[in-house]
């Protein structure tokens, strides 16, 4: 690897700080998921909220490995707080690698389009959270019923276990990602460019 493509101490600190913000916003989206419908489109809401720190991190650190480290930290903190299921871990890792690969394919020359594409790939990592509704079907509902979930909640969730909702869930990160990036672009133009940050 060329010397200038190696992560320096400054890059690492940048990654750490933006990851902290990304994690907090991601957690907000996760927490909003106690409303059943918002949980089924969790990848979309998370994408909408986390676009700004993700874009900021990409603009500051144009080197290989940045997204992988970001994903590793988010996974680590979620794991420590006991939020991660195996399915979520798998989708998250795959999404991070895909996102990093897309950035690598564009040689880390970030434009709006390439950043949006890699962000959508990154956002797909959260589909592992609501996926059990469709993936495991009835056995999932009996399991959470055993865990003591209330009957009303389970019935509401069962209402979402249709193919239309699955498609909605799968395209939600695309819509959320594009919208989030557009908002980020507007905000960057309005505030950050003048402040000389970007």
């Amino acid at each position: 690897m060329k010397q200038e493509m190696k992560l320096t101490g400054k890059d690492l600190i940048n990654i750490g700080i933006y990851t902290a913000i990304l994690f907090v916003l991601n957690f907000v989206a996760m927490f909003a998921g106690i409303v059943p419908f918002l949980w089924t489109i969790l990848p979309g809401t998370a994408a909408l909220l986390t676009a700004i720190p993700f874009a900021m991190m990409n603009l500051k650190v144009k080197k290989p490995g940045a997204i992988l480290i970001m994903g590793a930290i988010v996974a680590l903190i979620y794991f420590v707080t006991g939020q991660f299921t195996v399915l979520l871990l798998i989708t998250f890792v795959v999404a991070c690698i895909a996102s990093e690969a897309i950035r690598f394919a564009f040689h880390y020359k970030d434009t709006f389009v390439t950043m949006t594409v890699s962000f959508i790939a990154f956002s797909f990592g959260m589909i592992g959270s609501p996926l059990p509704i469709w993936c495991y079907g009835e056995s999932f509902f009996t399991q959470i019923a055993e865990n003591g979930m209330t009957k009303e909640y389970i019935d509401t969730l069962r209402g979402f276990a249709t193919t239309e909702n699955l498609i909605l869930m799968l395209i939600s990160p695309i819509i959320g990602g594009i919208l989030g990036m557009l908002i980020a672009k507007v905000l960057f133009k309005k505030h950050f460019k003048n402040a000389g940050v970007v």
Partner: protein, 242 residues
Amino acid sequence: MEKIMDRELQSLKKENKYKKSLDPRAGIIILLISNVVVFMQKAAMVGTIYVIFMGILLLVYGCPKSCIKFYIVLLGMIAVQRYIFPYAPSWIVILFGIFTNYGRRMLPCLMAGIMLIKTNTMHRFILAMRKMRWTESLVIPVAVAIRYFPAIREEWQHVHEAMKLRKLSVAEKLEGCLVPMMLSATTTAEELAQAAVTRGIENPVRKTSYEEIKIEWMDIVSVGLSLMVAIIVLVIDNRGLL
């Protein structure tokens, strides 16, 4: 110089006399065990035993306040589930049912996490991560990220107070929260990077430290005990003895 540092360290130790420190690695193992208990248990009742055990462990490590807090939270959640939900309207049950349920299940993890944080300094975490031979390019971002959470909270409080004075729409509120947060993050990153570079963060050699961490017999005992309690709890749970 050595003597002054020794004295400093001694006074630091005196301050934390009642707080025994758990080795970060042992703490992470206990956290993993708690995770397994949380994921494997079926009936919430059995998990209560593990929560009580973790409370005792918290007491032993000198955090009586958090122990009492967690017990109160547990009792409160049980009371709500027993006495309020049967009579409450269904939307309350839907919204808060998942909250109390997950909350109760997550308690062991939270307790293990709190124990880990309260008995350790950030520096000890870094030492532990280095001893576990993580690469430096993961250790630094993790340390920075964890240390930055309180800063985010502080920032949010400032913004929140300033917002109270004005009438804003939701979109404006979000913008008003995110923009200052990102701006201050950028300046902090800049300043922190300069400070860290002058202190030799980019020096590729292995870093040394005055404080050292060692796994002591107490760490081994508490890990062993929590493993034992976890196995007992899971066995009772699977056989359906309760």
